[in-house]
Symmetry: D2
């Protein structure tokens, strides 16, 4: 629900402090990166998918541009929350800590179970329709690390993680497709910009949306 | 992910049995009803919201018609899975069994945490655009039991449940709005049909979609 | 907007007639079929895509089952409205009747124009997450008639139509994936049912949702 | 469709020019503002809705902050395209230039016609789940100019426009809710920033996504 948590506590000189009992954005961001790391997913592996999806349309695109785009996607709150929830459910399933029948459904990655895609799609939507179709494509064709996660042998449960990785890659690809257009209108290509210029909006304060 | 679990095991006379290790639809349905019950949400309470949303446009609509519509919504797989996941997360948060910082985010029902709405929206979408706008309205205006869940004192965590109830009510309302139109085209109203005729498609086999 | 058109006119013996000035469902359905036909898209061509997407997972699936599934999708209001709007825009663009710059954007099927996918996705959502990922896959990989529409030479504008066809095929595929599961739980496959039993809910009155 | 328009034309010194035959972003932006203006919708009227939705949660929020947020939303491509298509359809319906039965459906703003909401939702999604619920609320409760558009007498058709305005207002509200949080984490409120600092990301080049 959205409209709660509206109580304000006065703090010292009368300035309102609404942060009490709240998790700071930075902490959520760090936890997200740590969770991906713990599950064996690197920024580089995700960026390789992005590169493969976008190189055909982009002169001068490098893996470094793609890594910048992936980093910018991971700064979005919607994405961070989705990743934290999805990985939590995978890990709980690995530890057999979900109640039945959910435990069995998640553990076996049932074909008609769609909450994994639904959670991933929430973030995909924030990058527009190109992201949605790219996500669908990745979900069916399982490129790179997505395939590794989907077929992983052993005790690992990645029911949510493979969709989350597809979501991150789809969002970063869409970001690049839009950026390409901006560049083209200035008669430039990715060959003309440094990786740091890939997602310039993430470089300034006040934009952690 | 979607396209997995395609291994087939031969069974007896050569008939394919793909049910091995799978949870039966009936079991998922029962678990869904049981979960709502355990969390103190009755079909009747949800139906009251539906009735309030639809009575203005429907001559002869009764609470019984609304209860039938709610029951039909609970038969959909997407809805059942959403309910099982959401309630699981609420209950894990109550038991302090989520890892940080997710535990704190879910427990405090953070204003910018949107995975609860995202999971609920997955099912809402399956009932079309009327369901989406009705869901938004219920989410903001918290009618009936949604309000009770949202403001509940004590140790209860209902971060996901209030959105799930809004989702069920929105879907059942949309179902009725569409049914109304079918009736009107035959110059009938809800006054002309029994509650059992509210969602006739759920009465026949092969439609548990 | 949703909640309008609530005026009621008395008719004859006092029965309420809310159909005055309204287009009957049957008329919308006929117009939808006629529009697809006019644009050279047959049920059979769409069904071939569905068959290709689903045959790997379905023993005994025939083109006829797929045609039944496509027909059932075309009975949904959300789908009918999407088709009517999309084809209208394509035809207006062909006749150069849109105002600038929209005329040029639609005519050239701009890469970053996403309203075509957005309109198509509205219906896709009503068939759940499998439909969404299948739609994304078809949108990128352009199987069968989708490819023909996308690359058509001459004056034809199919900016919206190719997405609409992908949407219909994705919905019909999702319908079959869910039906498969229902059958499996009875230890049956598509080999055991007639095409008419593919989407049984469309055979009964009161279900034109 | 997404992946087309990939032909490149060499231009002069070998630099790739992909802009040939394309509408420039600036032109699309100007056309969007002009279309809203022509239909009698001002940035200020939309901003009043945003202010009403957000003032309860924001110390120091002014109408000027809201106007900045609305302006930033209008810079997004997805939003611009949605507005151009929606207003085009309204205007064509006013001139009786749509074919039947679409003409009658749009003209009478049919209760079960959902393409207007669908087109508006495409942009709403890009601002996350808060935008979706706010949109649903505005769609049902028709605040301010949305109500004027919905009930306008005479020949005006605003079937799409009222949803588009609700969409813009919902997106701008969500933008402010997220910005609020960024400020809070620095122990600031809107009282501490100028209107120009409301959506800082739109002030730098390369971010017209």
């Amino acid at each position: 629900m959205v409209t709660k948590d509206m109580m304000c506590y006065k703090n010292g000189a009368g300035k309102v402090d609404r942060n009490q009992g709240r998790v700071h954005s930075k902490q959520v961001y760090e936890a997200t990166k740590e969770a991906l790391d713990r599950r064996g997913v690197t920024i580089e592996e995700i960026s390789k998918i992005v590169f493969e999806m976008q190189i055909a349309y982009n002169v001068g695109l490098t893996l470094e541009h793609c890594m910048e785009s992936v980093e910018s996607v991971l700064k979005k709150r919607e994405m961070q929350h989705a990743i934290l929830v999805g990985i939590e459910l995978d890990e709980l399933a690995e530890k057999k800590m979900l109640s039945e029948p959910l435990q069995q459904i998640v553990e076996s990655d049932e074909g008609l179970f769609g909450v994994d895609e639904t959670i991933a799609l929430g973030s995909v939507f924030t990058y527009g329709s190109i992201a949605v179709t790219t996500f669908g494509h990745l979900d069916k064709n399982k490129i790179g690390i997505i395939n590794k996660l989907d077929t992983k042998v052993g005790n690992g449960v990645h029911t949510f993680l493979d969709d989350l990785v597809a979501s991150i890659a789809a969002c970063a690809s869409s970001r690049i497709a839009h950026r390409t257009r901006d560049l083209e209108e200035q008669n430039e290509t990715f060959a003309d910009i440094t990786p740091e210029e890939t997602a310039p909006e993430t470089k300034i304060e006040g934009t952690t949306t």
